[in-house]
Structures are given as C-alpha cells and as structure tokens.
Symmetry: C2
Subunit: 209 residues, 2 copies
C-alpha cells in the first residue's frame, strides 16, 4: 500500500530535523507543513484537535487509502520511517542498545543541550524568566555530562550504537552538532567532532536548515 | 543460549519497577542488586567504571556464556526483555505508537510527575534547594498536562497504545499510580483510575514495593 508522509514541523527544531534526516538517508519523500512555535501556532485549537493534543511538533502524518494517522514524538516517527531498514539493527541487544541512546537523548541530552540553545539563540537571554535563568547553570552542567558520556562512548566505536549508523546517531546528531549555539564548546570532545564529520558524510545526508 | 538477568536498582525508583513489572508479566526470573541513590551509591567510581558511566540506575545486566553486557535506560531494558512477546505489537504503526508513549514518558511525564514525588516524598520539601523550589510550580503544571493527555487518550482505548497491554502501559504505570505521593490528585482523571485497575489486574502483576 502506498503511503504519503507529511511532517508537521518548525524548521528551527532539531527534533523535526531528525525526521527529515531519517527520510533523506532512506530516500523517502516527505512533505512538510510549517508552524512557528514561538508564535504558539502548535497550541491553537485546530492543531490540538487535529494534529497533536500535546501541542507539540514534530508530528508525522501518515496517509494512505484508508485515511490519515498522526504520530507525535520525533524518535517514534524516525522508528516508523526506518522500520525494516539498516538504520535499526535486528540483533536483539544492538536494537535495545540503540533505543537506550534514544531514550538518553530525550531525558539527559535534549532538555539541557537543546533547551539552552532554544533559550539563548531563539528566545534571547534578556527575555528569559527568572525561573529559566535560575536553571541555566544546572542545564549547563547536565548538558556537559551528556556530551562527555557521548564522547566516552565514541572512543570505542564509530557510531553511537555500533560500527554503522543507526537511529541513535540520527537522534543525537541534530542538537549535538549545533551545541555551540547553546554555549557548549565541543573542543573538549574530540570523538564527538570526528563523529559529526562521519554523520555529515553519510550518503543522502541533508543539513539542518 | 541461556541468559541470566541482574537488575541494578534502587527499590524506591519507579524506573526500576518498570523492569521488574515487565519481567513479572512475562515470567522472566530477575536477580536484583540494590543501591541507595540518595547516598550516591551509583556515583561511585566502581559503579561508573563497571555498570553505567552515566551514574544512574536502573541497569539491566545480561549474562551468558560469553560474559556480561550492561543495558542502561529503563525503557530500553523493558524492550530487551519483552522482545518477541505480545507486550510489543508487531504492526508497524502500533509499534511506533507504543514507542511514542514511551518517549513521552521520559520527556513529559517522568521529569515532572516522578521528580515532584522524589523531591516531596524522599528528599523532603524542607531540604530542597532554592532552584528546585522555584521549579515546583512549572513541574506541577507540566505534570498535570501529562496526566490530562493520558486521561484523554484512555477515553478511547483500554490501554495506552491499544486494546491490549504493551510496554507503553508498563512505562507509564509506575509513576502514575503513585502520582499522589508527588501531590498530583487523580480525582480529575477517571480514565486513568480505570486504567490503573486494569493494569493491576493483569496476570503476573507485582506491586511496587
């Protein structure tokens, strides 16, 4: 059955880029529909009712003859698109270990590395609330811990979950390769730097816009 | 090949309970080794070197004739144990949609619903830092949003990702069913209440200690 895909996205979001990168590496065509999250366009009633009740992008819309289904959560959308492809290892441990890095990304990496980038680059330090400002130091330290853990892992292997690229790399690449926009220098993480070059050299790679 | 499993855990952690619940529902034997996270036992050098460089529990240790492998991240460990079982749907969309709720759990639910329980029940409000105290209101609101989203989903189906239990239920049950310990009343979420009863009635179910 032929399926068509529409990505509901904000092009500035690394979470949206994950899905575009997965599709590009696999040669899958993807339509996009754009929203401005800073203007609150994903919190409007029609978005909440029709696309995602959680008020967040990205959402992957999957359309076939029987209608449309909507899949929120960037890493779940990548999983759907990459199902059956070499980007998901079939070996039982390797597959679980790939998911381990994807859960790590959502829990330890994104809320620190991506949030500081969003606050400092897109919201602007002067516009942060007192409460946000009070969290900068903790997020800085937790983000550095996350990057150090990645760097330590990449001492042993070429990609996050083995010798070949998987969704673990696609999940971690977007916010890591622009970590400097959130004030995270990558000078201390030489293995991350080599890994960024390897990901960017993959056939079909597209850059974040 | 026979495998033996050891769960490195703190029994107070809902993330550890997820893995014990998965094993119990599937009839898998699990040894446990306990650590006190409040005493920093998972930040000691031997733990960091041998079990998890991220200094966190749970970690699932998988032992066979060729040695031991260590799998951090609760949801990845559940995935490993449940591989090939009915707790993971085989349908492509259903499987991705189950993962969607597992990523939601780590990003939207655990950092709010579980963290407030940890702070209020185990650390104690009087012992919180100024910075933690400043986050209580935001975590309260985000946690309520997460619970409301679950409740809205459970209007339509018996379990989080369909009509039968999956890892999405196992991931979300632990911190939801003790949400009141973090000050989240469940009175406004009648569908969550019914779902808690259905999960607790599953054959093989074990309670959180």
């Amino acid at each position: 059955m032929t399926e068509n895909y529409t990505l509901h996205e904000d092009p500035r979001s690394g979470n949206c880029y994950k899905i575009k990168l997965t599709a590009a590496l696999l040669g899958i065509a993807l339509e996009t529909r754009q929203y401005d999250i800073i203007q609150g366009e994903t919190r409007r009633p029609e978005f909440l009712a029709n696309v995602n009740a959680n008020g967040r992008i990205p959402v992957l819309q999957i359309e076939d003859d029987s209608g449309s289904r909507f899949l929120p959560e960037s890493n779940a959308a990548c999983w759907y698109l990459a199902s059956g492809s070499p980007l998901i290892p079939q070996d039982r441990f390797a597959q679980a270990n790939m998911l381990r890095w994807m859960f790590f990304e959502q829990y330890n990496h994104e809320p620190n590395v991506a949030t500081l980038r969003f606050w400092l680059r897109f919201v602007g330090e002067a516009n942060l609330s007192e409460q946000q400002r009070a969290q900068i130091l903790a997020k800085r330290m937790a983000g550095q811990d996350a990057l150090a853990l990645m760097d330590g892992e990449l001492v042993h292997r070429g990609f996050m979950a083995g010798d070949t690229p998987t969704l673990a790399d696609i999940a971690l690449f977007p916010y890591t390769h622009v970590a400097e926009e959130g004030g995270f220098g990558l000078d201390n993480y030489p293995h991350i730097q080599g890994w960024i070059e390897r990901v960017a050299a993959l056939p079909g790679f597209v850059p974040m816009t």
